[in-house]
């Protein structure tokens, strides 16, 4: 919403600086997004959060002047020379403005033309360049005629982008007066929040300024109000009052269509609207001023359509496939339920959004039927969205315009047409008002204010604050009885109404004037968040193990995620949740795999890094059968390792490549750090992994995840950096399950007081015997006194023969309560050897 400062001043005195005014409005919820200065000096940089733009007119260099004669240019048809008086002397000024050509060669003008005159050295916008480029007026020669000054267009002055011709000033402008004194202005652009519908007008904004500054509000008065009655020129039929609570009509006869007065055109432009003609401008002016969108019909066209019968305006919802050609010349097919203004011959306009082409006001229009109505905000919003037609009218109706404004708006429109188009206003207005809104009446006490705001205000102070916004207040000792004014629909009833009023009290009182306190209310039960704590523990362990945490977008595509499996195996048979309005196809599907995100991240970074060690904890999204229809959001831990085991420096170092056992060691450390003691790894199968280098991770009988080397055929599907030729190791774990498995409590064992016995045993076994089986059997047999077991060597070849391997273990025997005897340890050792021989076909290697 654009509000010229000069227009606001019609309704309220403003003695604040622009920066202060913008600040006060912003603090009160009316955020001033930008200030465009028209000629006025710019405020200091950084003094306001609003974006400031505009051109300052130097008072002595840009002045009002009079063109007294327009003469042909001796050497150019498309240029003219103007004899101009600037209050000090006469100048000959050269211009190519086509709107002066009609005066060319007519001799001294009987009525001099008032223009904006820029003297040599004046700073202006360059009218011939795209956008707004500053330039300084310099002395030059154009086609043999000296030129040092200029008659300005609106664009050159920064008023609008109009550069077709020069700008004319009002005839009353006094020659020599600095232009900034005549036209200097500022346009405040206010970001109107949905609750500030009442401020979608100059008057509405002025009312707020009055409330927050305490300056009196000057309410507009109408000179000759027509009565409401049963007029003969038209009748009204509202078929659904919910969609159309009120409809008001007025008639103006015998109008002369011509451009509006210059000052009107000026104001409309400053407020962001294009002047059209005096009738359309009157509707727009009244709308900008008071907030009620109006629509002018060519009454004679309506009469013709009525074919001798009385004009009848009908409002209704559209049926299937109805069509209308709107003012902008576009033929539109309407959604069922679109609210329409019709007559008996058909559709006239899209209610509250845009008029139809057929009944629009033209140069030959003589009689105007003027509409002011109230429309349902939700259906207007739907129509404006469906037709992609954001208009000044729909902007207001979507936010809600009080039906009372329909009548006020029509009165103002009629008055303006009477003045600007010499029309005769019919003494009667037609009014159908089937559904007046309930006037909100709310009771409130200083106690309520204290309860909500923590602020002590007396009843008279509350009354004063609210009355500044035109609420009617009755005080009955400590009870305030508040009646909502007839221009706002945003005040509810009951407790909601109380909240609505408390917000208004807080705003007008000033949020800055509310104290800062620390919560004194009862502290709720402090239960912590165990899953979060465990997730954070997991993160910390992984970081301690050298991994970088990453966080990815939740969206992907099936194709992108499919790459984590070999070609042809990508049947992820679970359907994806799809976004129906994605920014792009690449962002349309919610992911099924955190590992897939990690692979994408690794791929991108492989050009810069020789080692990748990454993890992510985050959700995946799967369809569920939950009656709410909401998908499952399952937390997953993904881990990826690839590249050099050690970063390279200047020293010769181990630059070997990470393999399966790096990953497994990391996972074992993680499990140990999480105090999940029962984790085990067994040979696994998964299409994404190398068939011989994949393990299933279980805790007890529950599968926690899969880990291994990514299948070479999968690896090939990613575009790795040229030098990044390492196997990719990865794991994906069920984080929800891990959280369940991480114990809340654990026990620490005492440091042993008795000596340990350490011995090494090596066994020759069949290659196919998993080490885990050997280890498990040793533990089982070792019983209580076996305290540590370490596999320290795996050996193949030599005299072992093919198909055999040797596993060497270091066993530590220790008891918590005594020194072990040689006999005890020998017994256990022999049992271990025997069982391994019997059950696994092992042979002790001597």
């Amino acid at each position: 919403m654009k509000a010229p400062l000069s227009w606001l001043k019609d309704f309220v005195e403003i003695d604040l600086s622009l920066v202060e005014l913008a600040h006060r409005l912003t603090m009160a919820g009316l955020e001033v997004e930008s200030i465009q200065l028209i000629g006025l000096p710019l405020p200091p940089a950084g003094s306001t959060t609003a974006k400031v733009s505009g051109l300052t007119w130097e008072p002595e260099k840009i002045v009002a002047a009079a063109v007294t004669e327009v003469m042909p240019h001796p050497n150019a048809d498309r240029l003219v020379l103007c004899r101009l008086e600037d209050g000090q002397q006469e100048h000959i000024v050269l211009t190519g403005a086509p709107n002066l050509f009609e005066y060319k060669g007519k001799g001294p003008l009987p009525q001099p033309l008032k223009v904006a005159y820029a003297k040599e050295g004046a700073m202006l916008y360059d009218g011939h360049q795209e956008g707004y480029v500053l330039t300084t007026l310099k002395r030059t020669k154009i086609r043999g005629v000296e030129s040092y000054s200029m008659i300005c267009s609106e664009k050159e002055l920064g008023i609008s982008d109009e550069h077709e011709g020069i700008m004319f000033l009002d005839d009353a402008a006094s020659v020599g007066t600095p232009l900034v004194e005549l036209l200097g202005d500022a346009i405040l652009e206010v970001n109107l929040l949905p609750s500030f519908a009442r401020c979608a007008s100059i008057f509405g904004l002025a009312r707020e300024i009055s409330a927050i500054t305490g300056k009196a509000l000057k309410t507009p008065r109408f000179t000759s109000p027509p009565d409401i009655g049963k007029a003969t020129y038209a009748e009204l039929e509202i078929t659904d009052p919910v969609l159309n609570p009120r409809f008001v009509l007025g008639l103006v006869r015998g109008v002369n269509i011509h451009p509006s007065p210059l000052w009107v055109q000026q104001r409309l432009k400053l407020a962001g609207m294009r002047p059209i003609n005096n009738i359309v401008d009157a509707t727009n002016y009244a709308m900008l001023e008071l907030g009620e969108p109006l629509h002018a019909f060519d009454y004679d066209v309506l009469c013709k359509r009525a074919a001798g019968k009385q004009v009848k305006i009908i409002t209704r919802a559209a049926g299937k496939d109805e069509k209308i050609t709107t003012l902008d010349g576009v033929e539109r097919t309407l959604d069922e339920g679109t609210v329409l203004v019709c007559d008996e011959a058909g559709i006239l306009s899209l209610a509250g959004v845009m008029g139809g082409l057929e009944t629009e006001v033209t140069a030959s229009t003589r009689n105007i039927l003027l509409e002011g109505a109230a429309w349902n905000m939700i259906s207007t919003r739907r129509t404006a969205k469906a037709q992609n037609l954001p208009s000044e009218a729909s902007y207001r109706f979507i936010r809600g315009v009080h039906p009372a404004m329909a009548e006020t708006g029509v009165r103002r429109g009629l008055e303006l047409m009477e003045h600007w188009a010499d029309g005769a206003v019919d003494p009667l207005m037609v009014d159908a008002y089937p559904l007046p809104p309930k006037t909100s009446v709310v009771d409130i006490t200083p106690g309520d204010v204290k309860r909500w705001l923590g602020l002590d205000l007396s009843a008279p102070r509350i009354a004063e604050l609210l009355s500044r916004l035109e609420f009617k207040v009755q005080i009955d000792s400590d009870l305030l009885h508040i009646t909502c004014p007839e221009h706002r629909l945003d005040i509810g009833s009951g407790i909601t109404g109380k909240a609505d009023l408390i917000e208004e009290i807080a705003r007008v009182h000033g949020y800055d004037n509310i104290p800062e306190t620390r919560i004194s209310d009862r502290l709720p039960l402090q239960l912590g968040n165990s899953p979060l704590k465990k997730t954070d523990l997991t993160r910390d362990l992984l970081v301690a193990l050298g991994l970088q945490e990453v966080i990815s977008y939740r969206w992907t595509t099936p194709e992108k995620e499919g790459r984590r499996l070999p070609k042809g195996a990508e049947a992820d048979n679970k359907p994806y949740l799809r976004i129906s309005n994605p920014l792009a196809y690449e962002k349309a599907f919610l992911r099924h795999s955190v590992l897939a995100s990690l692979l994408d991240t690794a791929e991108r970074n492989s050009r810069q890094r020789a080692t990748l060690a990454l993890f992510e904890i985050g959700p995946i999204f799967l369809h569920s059968e939950d009656p709410s229809g909401l998908p499952d959001e399952l937390s997953r831990l993904g881990i990826l390792l690839a590249g050099q085991r050690n970063p390279s420096g200047w020293q010769p170092a181990d630059n070997s490549t990470m393999d399966f056992y790096d990953l497994k060691g990391l996972l074992e450390d993680l499990m140990a750090g999480l105090h999940i003691t029962e984790a085990n790894f067994s040979q696994g199968e998964h299409p994404g992994y190398h068939p011989g280098k994949c393990a299933i991770i279980r805790v007890g009988s529950q599968q926690v995840g899969v880990c291994g080397e990514i299948h070479p055929a999968v690896r090939e599907r990613y575009h790795w950096g040229d030098t990044f030729q390492y196997p990719v190791l990865a794991a994906e774990l069920d984080m929800d399950l891990l959280i369940e498995l991480i114990p809340e409590q654990r026990h620490t064992t005492d440091i042993p007081n008795f000596p340990a016995v350490v011995e090494d045993l090596a066994f020759v076994l069949d290659e196919a015997t998993p080490a885990a089986d050997v280890t498990a059997l040793i533990w089982q047999t070792g019983g209580k006194i076996l305290s540590e077991l370490q596999l320290f060597d795996v050996f193949r070849g030599g005299q072992l023969g093919s198909g055999k391997k040797s596993l060497a273990y270091r066993l530590t025997y220790q008891a918590v309560d005594r020194t072990l005897t040689d006999k005890e340890t020998a017994q256990v050792r022999n049992r271990i050897i025997k069982r391994l021989e019997m059950e696994l076909g092992a042979r002790l290697r001597s």
Binding site: I378, L527, L583, L590, P631
Partner: protein, 356 residues
């Protein structure tokens, strides 16, 4: 030999030995010196064996003299040996000297994502004030994301939050959406806590962190997926002044004791009164500069929980009041770590992440 001669000889040898010792510069020469002057055949040792040949009354004189000389030589020897050892050590350490300006051996260091870092700091701040973490889902129903938060169907306030809808058929007026804010967590938290004692619901003080989504083109300052932190406090004595105090405390914890928060009137359907809150620019302290433009940094939205929302959560608005706030976590991280481009967060470029 007479005693006098022996004593004279001892003196002479002692002097020669001390002189010679001064010229000894290595272990080998030191050992040779020791053999010469303190060994079996050394003059001083021999002096003792010659004692028997002396008259009885001269023996003590010569014995004492020999002892004195021997002790002196031993002490000189020890002193020299110590000095030689020290200088050898200095020499050998000198030979081991490194170029300490060479870079150290690189290590693989793990790091948390900056979003996690800042979130932990925030959760700590609010945890200290009694706010417990409540986690809530990312895919929501229209009902939870909008309707229960007082955004009726077709309400213009919905235009303030451009929404991603999920392609799930037959849901009518309750489509699935990617949550546009963490505020549905307000309803879920209230309902969960109220259900503990529906007739007399306990007070609420929770913080809801999580990813939210807006249908918005991505640029340096705008993300379409971002992390938000929601706060909610409900009780029988929670006021707007408490809201101001709580967020001012947060500002102090984040940006130092002189930090200030400012509250501007605003509009959100689920709070009333509503306020946007700004933190005074830490760069210019409110004077206005390139970081802030106007002296204040916009941080987030806040307000008193709307009576309709309280009721939807199971709290009687005639009895309870509450405040709520929400802000972008990355916004804080960007201010805190001087990050210029919000797109860095989820792009996971290690050249960015390794700076933390």
């Amino acid at each position: 030999m007479s005693a006098a001669t022996i004593l004279q000889e001892l003196e002479a040898v002692s002097k020669a030995a001390v002189d010679e010792l001064k010229r000894v510069t290595n272990e080998e020469a030191l050992l040779a010196w020791r053999t010469t002057y303190l060994g079996k055949n050394a003059v001083v040792v021999k002096a003792f064996s010659s004692l028997g040949a002396l008259p009885t009354d001269e023996r003590p004189l010569v014995g004492q003299g020999a002892n004195r000389v021997k002790a002196a030589l031993e002490s000189a020897y020890n002193e020299r040996a110590q000095a030689l050892k020290e200088s050898a050590l200095i020499q050998s350490l000198g030979a081991q000297a490194l170029d300490v300006t060479l870079p150290g051996r690189p290590r693989n260091r793990g790091r948390l994502h900056p979003d996690t870092l800042i979130l932990r700091e925030l959760l700590q701040i609010f945890g200290d004030m009694g706010f417990q973490v409540f986690q809530s889902r990312e895919v929501e129903t229209d009902e939870y994301n909008f309707q229960l938060l007082n955004f009726p169907l077709g309400h213009p306030a919905r235009d303030m939050q451009d929404t991603y809808f999920l392609d799930v058929p037959n849901r009518g007026d309750n489509p699935l959406v990617l949550r546009t804010h963490t505020s549905p967590g307000q309803i879920r938290a209230m309902r969960e806590i109220a259900s503990l004692n529906p007739s007399n619901p306990p007070p609420v003080r929770v913080i809801v962190p999580g990813m939210v989504f807006r249908y918005e083109q991505v640029d340096v300052r705008h993300e379409t997926q971002f992390d938000q932190l929601e706060g909610l406090a409900i009780g029988e004595g929670i006021t707007f002044s408490d809201l101001k105090g709580t967020l001012t405390d947060m500002a102090r914890r984040l940006f130092g004791p002189s930090a200030r928060a400012r509250f501007r009137a605003s509009y959100f359907p689920f709070t009333e009164p509503s306020a946007e809150f700004d933190i005074q620019c830490f760069q210019c302290h409110g004077k206005g500069c390139g970081v802030c433009g106007g002296g204040w940094l916009e941080i987030g939205g806040s307000g008193m929980v709307h009576p309709v929302v309280l009721a939807n959560g199971g709290y009687d608005p005639a009895r309870y009041t509450g405040f709520a706030f929400g802000f972008g976590v990355q916004r804080i991280a960007m201010l805190r770590y001087g990050i210029n481009d919000i797109r860095y967060f989820w792009e996971n470029d290690l050249r960015f992440l390794e700076q933390f």
